[in-house]
C-alpha cells in the first residue's frame, strides 16, 4: 500500500480517536500530540489495526516509535 494512502487513512483514524484534526509526519511522536497518553495510545493502536485489518504482534507494538515507523509496519502488513 502506498505511504500516501496510508497517511490519508491514518489521519482519519487520528481525527476520530482524538476528536480533532492532527498533523502527522514521519517524525511525529506521542509527545508532539496533546492527549496522546499511554491509555489513548492503546486505543489508537487498536483503531489502526482495525482500520487496516491487521494485528501488530507484541514485538511490532514495541517498535512503533513514531508515525513513520507505524506507516512502515502498516505498509509491510496491509494487503495492497
Amino acid at each position: 500500500m502506498e505511504r500516501q494512502e496510508i497517511y490519508a487513512r491514518l489521519k482519519e483514524v487520528f481525527a476520530d480517536v482524538f476528536d480533532r484534526e492532527v498533523e502527522l509526519h514521519d517524525e511525529t511522536t506521542a509527545s508532539d500530540v496533546e492527549g496522546w497518553d499511554s491509555l489513548r495510545h492503546i486505543m489508537l493502536i487498536s483503531a489502526v489495526e482495525e482500520e487496516f485489518e491487521i494485528k501488530f504482534d507484541m514485538k511490532a507494538v514495541r517498535e512503533l516509535k513514531n508515525v513513520g515507523a507505524m506507516v512502515d509496519v502498516i505498509s509491510e502488513m496491509a494487503a495492497p
Partner: protein, 594 residues
C-alpha cells in the same frame, strides 16, 4: 443514539468514543449517578465505554476508579476518595485472572474445597464490607472460563480442573446474590460464551496492558453492565408494541387469509414464528405488557389473532389496535391509554419503513432491527430492553393489573357520575409507614415513576431502608385494592421534620391509579401524622422535569398556597391550619384490614 443501540459496532464505538460522548452530553434531562469501578485488572476503557452506554440511557455517571488491581484493598481497607464520592453503584470488575489459588494437581479433594471456601470468603468479606460502608447496589462479575484447559474435557468434571473450579466458584457467587438484595451478578461467564471465548480472550492486551479481555469485547461487557444499572434505576422498557403480518406470523392475513398463514409446526418458518410467540409469552409473564399495533382492517387482524396455532391468545394482549393510521400515532395513543410514556415501548416490526417512522416520531422508544424470523428472539433478547434485576411479585402480576384496569374503564362508562363510579369500585387502601416487605417495591417506584412525581428523587433500597429508620422522617406507602383486584403499592411519600413544619421531599403515585382519589387518602394520613407530631404546617415542593407536568398544580389543587418560585418552574407551597384540616378522601376505606 443509533451507534450505541444493540447490535453496535465495537470498532466504531471505541474509535469514535470522544465525539459520541460529546454528542450524548448535549441531551437534556440526564440523571446524575456516581459509580465506583473497582478493578482486578485495567479498567480505563471499560469505564469509558460504560459512560457511553449509560449516557445513551439518559444516565450521566461520574466515576471513582481503583488504582490498578486494588479492588480488594479499596473495599476492605477503605479509600478516602471512594468514601468522599459516596457511590450510587459499585461495579467490581474481576475476572478469572483474579482467582488467587487454583487447585494443584496434587491437591486432595478436601484441599480443593478449602481453596474454594477461602476464595469465596475473600470475596464475601469485600462485599459485606462494601455494603456496610456504602449501602449501595453492588454489581459483581462472576468468572469466565480460562483460555486454556490443561486437562482438556476432563476439566469440566475433575475438581482439579480450572473449568470445574470456576463453575463451583460461580455457583457460590450466585448463591450469595440469591440471598442479598442489591447485589447483582454480571454474568461474564455467559457473556464470554455468547461472544465466543476465543474472541473474548486476547492475551496480547493482557501481557501488554493488563486488560483481562479483548479490547473488542469491552463495549459488549460495558453494555451488559449498563443494562443492569439502568434496570436498577428504573430505565427498563415496560411494554411491547407488536406488528402482526410477518412479525407474529408468516404472510399477510389480509391478502393470504388466516387459513394460509405460516404458523405452526408444519413448516420451519411456521415453527420459528411459534417459538417467537412463546418467547413473547414468557416476557409477558415477567410483567412486560404486550400490545398489538397493526396496519390491517380490524376484522382481518382479529381473524389472524384467533388462528388456532397462536401461542399468544387474545387475553395475552392488553390492547389491540388495527387500522391504517401512522404507527407512530397509534403507539402514542396506546401509551396514553395505558398511562405509559411512548419511550417505555419496544416497537417490534419487520418493516424497516415503519421502524423509521417510529424512530423519528417517538424518541427513546426501543426499536430492534428485525430482518428474518429466526433472528427475532435474539434481537429482543440481546438488546437488554427488559434486563431483570429483581422479579417482584408486582412485576409478575402486571399484565393482570392492566386487564383489571380495562374492566374498570368499562364500568366507568356505565356511570354518568364519576363519584358513583368510584364508590362502586369498593376501594380499600393500606397507608402505613414503610415496612420491610415493601422496601424493594418502594425503591423501584421511586426510580420508575416519572409522571406523577413531584420531586423525582430516586432512592436505592438501602436509602429507603435508612429513611424509614430516621426519627425525624415520616414515610408512607399506599397500597390500593378494589373489587377488580389488588394494585399493590402505588404511592410513596417521604417527609422530613423542619421545625414546626413537615417538608414533603417525595410524593409520587403510579399512573395506574390516576383519578381514584388515592392522593386524597394519602394526604389525609400525612396530615394526621403531622398533627400527631405537633406540626402546624406542611411544605410541598415541585421540581419540574420533562415528564412531570401532570403534577405541576398538584399542591394548589390540594389547598396549598405558593410561597416561592424559581425561573426554572420549581416552586414551594405551604398548607397551614392543619388542626382544622378537612379530610378529602371520600371513596377509599383506609387501614381497615388486619
Amino acid at each position: 443514539m443509533q451507534e450505541l443501540d444493540y447490535p453496535f459496532d465495537s470498532r466504531v464505538v471505541r474509535r469514535k468514543k470522544l465525539s459520541l460522548k460529546r454528542k450524548l452530553l448535549e441531551q437534556e434531562g440526564l440523571m446524575d449517578k456516581k459509580i465506583a469501578v473497582l478493578g482486578g485488572s485495567t479498567t480505563a476503557e471499560i469505564k469509558d465505554m460504560l459512560e457511553l452506554f449509560l449516557l445513551n440511557e439518559g444516565i450521566r455517571p461520574s466515576f471513582f476508579e481503583s488504582e490498578y488491581a486494588q479492588y480488594w484493598q479499596d473495599a476492605v481497607f477503605g479509600n478516602e476518595e471512594l468514601k468522599a464520592l459516596k457511590p450510587d453503584i459499585i461495579f467490581i470488575h474481576t475476572t478469572s485472572r483474579n482467582i488467587s489459588e487454583y487447585p494443584e494437581l496434587s491437591d486432595p479433594e478436601e484441599e480443593i474445597s478449602r481453596k474454594l471456601d477461602r476464595e469465596r470468603e475473600r470475596f464475601q468479606r469485600m462485599w459485606d464490607q462494601l455494603s456496610q460502608d456504602y449501602s449501595c447496589p453492588i454489581i459483581q462479575n462472576n468468572f469466565e472460563y480460562p483460555p486454556f484447559r490443561l486437562l482438556g474435557n476432563l476439566e469440566a468434571a475433575d475438581p482439579h480442573g480450572r473449568v470445574n473450579f470456576i463453575s463451583r466458584l460461580n455457583a457460590c457467587f450466585a448463591e450469595y446474590a440469591r440471598h442479598h438484595s442489591s447485589f447483582y451478578l454480571n454474568d461474564i461467564n455467559y457473556q464470554a460464551a455468547e461472544y465466543g471465548l476465543d474472541r473474548w480472550h486476547d492475551l496480547s492486551v493482557w501481557y501488554l496492558y493488563k486488560y483481562a479481555l479483548s479490547l473488542e469485547a469491552i463495549p459488549f461487557l460495558a453494555f451488559q453492565v449498563s443494562n443492569i444499572i439502568k434496570s436498577i434505576f428504573g430505565r427498563n422498557k415496560k411494554a411491547l408494541a407488536l406488528d402482526l403480518d410477518n412479525t407474529l406470523w408468516g404472510g399477510v392475513v389480509g391478502d393470504d387469509g388466516p387459513e394460509n398463514l405460516e404458523l405452526g409446526p408444519e413448516t420451519g418458518l411456521g415453527e420459528a414464528y411459534l417459538e417467537f410467540q412463546a418467547y413473547l409469552k414468557e416476557l409477558s409473564k415477567c410483567g412486560i405488557l404486550l400490545t398489538v399495533i397493526s396496519k390491517n382492517d380490524e376484522e382481518n387482524a382479529l381473524a389472524g389473532l384467533s388462528h388456532p396455532q397462536m401461542v399468544l391468545k387474545s387475553k395475552d394482549f392488553i390492547s389491540v389496535t388495527a387500522n391504517w393510521e401512522p404507527k407512530s400515532e397509534n403507539l402514542k395513543k396506546t401509551a396514553q391509554s395505558l398511562n405509559l410514556l411512548p419511550e417505555s415501548f419496544v416497537f417490534v416490526d419487520d418493516n424497516p419503513a415503519e421502524r423509521e417512522i417510529v424512530r423519528q416520531q417517538v424518541s427513546g422508544a426501543g426499536i430492534p432491527e428485525l430482518s428474518h424470523v429466526e433472528g427475532y428472539i435474539a434481537a429482543l433478547d440481546r438488546a437488554g430492553y427488559f434486563e431483570a434485576t429483581t422479579l417482584s411479585g408486582d412485576d409478575l402480576k402486571r399484565s393482570e393489573m392492566y386487564r383489571e384496569n380495562a374492566k374498570r374503564a368499562e364500568l366507568q362508562a356505565s356511570f354518568s357520575d364519576y363519584g358513583e363510579y368510584l364508590a362502586s369500585l369498593e376501594m380499600k387502601a393500606e397507608i402505613k409507614p414503610f415496612s420491610p416487605v415493601y422496601m424493594a417495591r418502594i425503591a423501584q417506584l421511586t426510580n420508575k415513576s416519572n409522571q406523577f412525581n413531584l420531586t423525582t428523587r430516586r432512592y436505592t433500597e438501602e436509602e429507603i431502608r435508612m429513611a424509614s429508620a430516621e426519627k425525624d422522617t415520616v414515610t408512607l406507602y399506599g397500597a390500593l385494592a378494589d373489587r377488580f383486584g389488588d394494585n399493590g403499592v402505588v404511592s410513596v411519600v417521604i417527609a422530613r421534620e423542619e421545625g414546626e413544619a413537615l417538608r414533603i421531599i417525595l410524593w409520587l403515585m403510579s399512573c395506574r391509579v390516576l383519578k381514584r382519589g388515592m392522593e386524597d387518602a394519602m394526604m389525609d394520613e400525612l396530615v394526621r401524622i403531622a398533627v400527631k407530631r405537633g406540626k402546624v404546617r406542611l411544605i410541598g415542593e415541585y421540581i419540574p422535569t420533562q415528564k412531570n407536568r401532570m403534577v405541576k398544580d398538584f399542591y394548589p389543587g390540594m389547598g396549598f398556597v405558593q410561597t416561592a418560585g424559581a425561573e426554572d418552574g420549581s416552586a414551594e407551597y405551604e398548607l397551614t391550619g392543619l388542626s382544622g384540616y378537612e379530610k378529602k378522601n371520600r371513596f377509599i376505606r383506609v387501614n381497615e384490614g388486619a
